[in-house]
Assembly symmetry: C2
Homo-oligomer: 193 residues x 2
Amino acid sequence: MRKLSGTSGLLLGMISVKGRQTGYEIKRLVEVSTRFFWAASPAQIYPELRRLESDGLLTSAEEPQGGRARTVYSVTETGERALREWLTESSAPGFELRNESLLKLFFADALPAEEQIELVRAMRAKHEAILDGIRKATPAYRPDRQFGYVSWLYGLGLHGWIVDWCKQLERDLAAGSMPLGPEEGDSSASRAG
Amino acid sequence: MRKLSGTSGLLLGMISVKGRQTGYEIKRLVEVSTRFFWAASPAQIYPELRRLESDGLLTSAEEPQGGRARTVYSVTETGERALREWLTESSAPGFELRNESLLKLFFADALPAEEQIELVRAMRAKHEAILDGIRKATPAYRPDRQFGYVSWLYGLGLHGWIVDWCKQLERDLAAGSMPLGPEEGDSSASRAG
DNA sequence: TGGCTCATGTAAGCCGTTACATGATTTT
DNA sequence: AAAATCATGTAACGGCTTACATGAGCCA
């Protein structure tokens, strides 16, 4: 059994949880749920569904609606087993981050004070926009989908923390209370948690 | 002037801040600083340095040490300007995250309770390892490199927050205090910040 | 009639990783 | 003498984004 990639686990998982799905339906589901920590575009979804089918983890049925083509996928027994294996396999799950705001902040010493603050403001705006997106995607609470709710809370909490961190840094910069040495553990310590 | 990618900004920034550098030196610098939010491998660094040189943003000098080839790069005037433009350009800086632990947690409802907790433990272990790496990379404090220190604090704070979130969830799961409805805003509210 | 949503897909390209290869020099 | 570090690179591949293309059905 080929090891599942994150994206194939995502597709398999969505179909398993929601039942029979088209690629388009999965795309919409992803947009209001996992996209904040695992995105997937049509150019990934459609070919990957076919691959999963040819591997025997999915079956498909052509169910056109009127003259409109439509392919509905279901998870096979083998697919369910593969999903559970993926969920519980003990290989270290990846955490990949590319944060360009922070990269710029890293080099901000060369900038004038006003532009330093502007960098932090732009970073905060970014995460406030993400927070908006997460809030709009509030999951309907269902006792059989608790972990959907839990990961939604994670998004709120994480980006909320970042926004607060930015606000604190903006205050410090505006007050000119930088330089802060590593031993002056007041606001910096609160930021470091 | 070609718009700089994050990675070219990184290279330009490192050479600008630290002065003349070889690719190898940059690789080591990245490993103890930006790699927690912006990684770069040799297979990116060496070709990109050449591209930046052919674009006139860097100059190189062959400075072999004994019989060992060595190419030292410096930032040109044009390069310094490009770096400042990149730092202050107002295009929204990207934030990309791929969190496979959280993706698995999202689908955890189907698992037995013990395996749910195991998932959270694995997630916490991951971030504790990252925290270790960040702590080991403590930057020497220098007043002219405050933002190097600030972004280090960010890493500590962010991953510290995640570890705490995992611990809280582990407690909730162990106590069986899930299901938690959206209106019972005690521990869940504290997690959401 | 025009625009939106449903629905499926492809092509080109960027970005990045893993793994490998080479060889000198320094340290143990 | 062996192992680690310095130093530079390439080949193959995987994964993902952007942009495009097609066409049906639905609604104002």
